[in-house]
Amino acid sequence: MKKIIIVICFVFAVIPATKLRAWDRGIHSGIVALAEANLTQTAKKNLRSYFNNESLVLWAQWTDDLEQCKGHEQLRNYHNVALTTKGAIMPIKKAAKSKNKFLKTALAMEGLEKSLKELSSYKTLDAEKVRELVCMVMTILADIHCPSHYIFDKMTEDDLRPEYYRDNNTKPENFLRLWEAGAFQANFSVWRAREYVHQLSRLTQEQINETVSGSLKSWIEKNARNYANLSSYVKNHPIMLKKQYRLKSSDYRLWLNTVNPVAVDAVQKAGYRIARVLNGIFDDTILEVSLN
């Protein structure tokens, strides 16, 4: 019944939901498929016992859909991470009390910490609660690999929502939306969930170890360093004409070609890291990933 209610909520909220999402639905499904393909047999079997023997891919967007329902609005704050100007994760309380509306709602760490803490004793929880928490973890971990979800202290509206014009178009386009979907989908929009696995589940064990080494916070802060210059990268890109952020349409493909590998790398890391976190929780032979 709860699933039906969520679906109904989603139908009515589909337009604003589209605007709020990080990666688009296809990418979220692909990331979760990639994660599922890299679960240990034990973790996969254990997880599926909580998910009615369904694939996790079916639940890849569950949290994003839930947040559109009345009473679950708080989940909308769990997409972005608040960071200091130097790229360190900002304490949750400090971010929540910030006067900056962007920082104030960048509470992904709160959602992640709460979920992981509860999941550490998942055997005492009922299946519905476990599903909810796993979905939350999958969604937040996917989001924090999207370059547009890092909110640095003192960022302005212009930094966060850089817009550009193509040729003489009078209507600006939003670079963040480009990151959230276009940068990846420009080249690989034809992939479905199993195609993500075919294409990206190819790392060697050595590469996997490197990708999943470290703590959750170290992953985030490393991502933050990589994405910190997103705004200036946009504005200072050699093919971007200065001042007006005006991009020639003929250069648009060149720009996409430069950002696509960044998006592919982010999607791949997200998939392997979600698998690592879930393996640590649902396979007793694997150590849990530490938060700090």
Partner: protein, 270 residues
Amino acid sequence: MKKYIIALLVALLSLCSVQTLFAWGKEGHAAVAYIAEKNLTAKAKANLEKAIGNHSIVFYASWLDYFRKCHKKWDKRAHVATYDIETGLPVGKGINNMKETISLLKNYKNLPDSVFKFNIYALIHQMGDFHCPGHVSFVNDKGETIKYSNYEIKFLTPDRIEKYHHFWDGVLLADIHGDWSYMDYEAALNHVPQSVKDEMLKGTLVDWLQENALGCRFVYEVVPGRKKAPKNELFLLERPLENELGEFALKQLLKGGVRLAAVLNDIFGE
């Protein structure tokens, strides 16, 4: 029915413009590459994937379209295979590039990485392009390229008008199998008897392309000597006819994939 198909193909070919050529679109190119991948020998697949950095060849199926502006050798005109209208033999830049690309790749172990990658990506893409009806062009005995013009296709259901090339690079496959991924195409097309694939592989690269060209040449026989179709002439496309063209397109995807695999097996299978 054949008369209608001929008429439609005339209309379609007349619409072709070399301004925005992306052949099959991402779906079709990925399908060709994946069919090829499934027809690689284990050894060729291992050697090939090692050489291209542990990626599937599907990953690079449309690379040449995305980086077209960076490589003059494979500019938009080279994506079209040109044929002598009498013999159907391939002529011009496209086929010459393809021959050179394959020749270079046969010595792939000694190529600089950037040269190797560019050529392997080009081969993966172009085998798809050359099997796309939208990428067939003819020259007459005076050396003149038969110009495609301004036919547009009017779809009755739903009511819309599409340009010729867009019909092949997106509309047709989307209309027929819009919900298919490249794995679905492979599952649907690749499981024909080996004897059917063997038939597709008879002859050389030139023979394969000539067969593609001759498959379209009859279109020109109904408009001999015509270089340009009337502007803004609409052709009404009804769904049964579109379905038949869709079947034709699917056969070309399979041929492209099986033949690409044969070339790659030859290069990387040793």
